[in-house]
């Protein structure tokens, strides 16, 4: 597998290291000459100097035969254009783009740049994961595949509390895949019993959340229990 990485910052350099350690063929492209010199001392011919938004730089790096293009520069517009050109001009199917400013995520989506990874967004999700009163936490969204994984807390007296997994009424296109209890998780069977206070992970078609949450909501909703 041949991988081109645009941007030899912390993310790009470490990615290149990891991929090279896994015996992947990697070319890293860096536009800042001083940075390029530093990285070149370690990675040698695996790093090239140039602006990866320029077509001839991508062509020199061999974009025509790249299996994967990863754009992780510090500029969102650069990452968008590198991936767009890789995909639409050179026919590289697999791209990964870094989103620096989460507000720009819509731009990536609009222009078909998927997956777009935002470290800020990931950390925000982890914060939500650590704060259970948010009720529903989206753990993973696979946009292209139209699937997402959410986490829900099982409320006291909710329809699911005390019920067997098989008896929890859920819409088609959703499935309980894991139960977290007392700091440990397990994959439930149909006869596993869900308890109030459990966290359940579900995989579902996006849009079904509103049909699912009532199954796990506490019997008496207090104003402070949901946001």
């Amino acid at each position: 597998m041949y991988v081109i990485i645009a941007g030899a910052g912390k993310v790009g350099w470490n990615l290149a290291r990891e991929l090279i350690a896994k015996d992947r063929e990697v070319t890293l492209i860096e536009s800042d000459h001083r940075r390029y010199r530093i990285v070149e001392e370690e990675l040698e011919h695996a790093v090239q100097y140039g602006d990866a938004t320029e077509l001839w730089v991508l062509e020199r790096a061999g974009i025509q035969r790249a299996d994967l293009v990863i754009a992780v520069t510090g500029d969102d517009e650069d990452n968008i254009l590198i991936c767009q050109v890789a995909k639409e001009k050179y026919g590289c199917d697999r791209i990964v783009a870094r989103v620096n400013n989460p507000r720009n995520l819509d731009h990536f989506k609009l222009l078909g740049i998927q997956p777009a990874v935002s470290a800020t967004d990931l950390i925000l999700r982890l914060i939500e994961h650590e704060v259970p009163e948010y009720g529903l936490v989206q753990l993973l969204a696979l946009e292209e595949e139209h699937l997402e994984i959410i986490e829900l807390e099982v409320g006291e007296g909710s329809p699911a509390a005390g019920a067997r997994v098989a008896d929890v009424v859920l819409p088609d296109g959703s499935l309980i895949i894991s139960v977290l209890r007392d700091g440990a998780g397990f994959v439930p069977k149909g006869d596993s019993v869900i308890q109030a206070g459990d966290q359940v992970l579900l995989i579902l078609d996006p849009g079904l959340e509103s049909q699912i949450t009532p199954r796990f909501a506490p019997a008496v909703q207090t104003a402070s229990s949901r946001r």
Binding site: T53, E54, L55, W56, D75, D76, E77, D78, I80, L81, V85, E88, K89, N101, R103, N104, D106, H107, L110, L111
Partner: protein, 140 residues
């Protein structure tokens, strides 16, 4: 006709002034408040008194573009100093805000050519300079 121009540099501000003189509604967006001076330069009245609009905002932020009137724009021109910024906002103008006519300045001739094939009106000052220089140099 409403014309929205992002980037009040030499090109953007000159086009804005000409468009206003021609009787169009013109709205300019730039991240630098001082760029406004270029719109007033050599004019008898200020840009606003002459009927122009000016918004301070980052080119990539949708809020600023909306405030500048991109949703009602008949023509959009991306004329910041950055090729990559111009190409991204030009595509936003077309695909998200459905602006009928989108003009984008791209300094890099190779990408100006490719994005022109994708349906953007690209202007490449470098290509013009090359053509003119070649003509003058080879005329000898």
């Amino acid at each position: 006709m409403l014309i929205v121009i992002v980037g009040a540099g030499r090109v953007g501000s000159a086009v804005a002034k000409r468009a206003l003189e021609a009787g169009h509604e013109v709205s300019v967006l730039d991240s630098d408040p001082l760029s406004h001076e270029r719109l007033d330069k050599d004019q008898s009245t200020t840009w606003e008194d002459a009927g122009g609009r000016f918004t301070v905002g980052a080119a990539l932020e949708a809020d600023g573009l909306v405030e500048a009137g991109i949703e009602q724009a008949d023509v959009f021109m991306a004329a910041t100093s950055g090729d990559n910024t111009n190409l991204v906002i030009a595509q936003l103008a077309r695909r998200r805000f459905r602006v009928p006519r989108v003009v984008v300045r791209v300094a890099d001739p190779a990408r100006a050519a490719w994005y022109a094939e994708q349906g953007l009106y690209t202007i490449c000052p470098t290509q013009h300079a090359i053509n003119q220089a070649v003509n003058l140099v080879l005329e000898v």
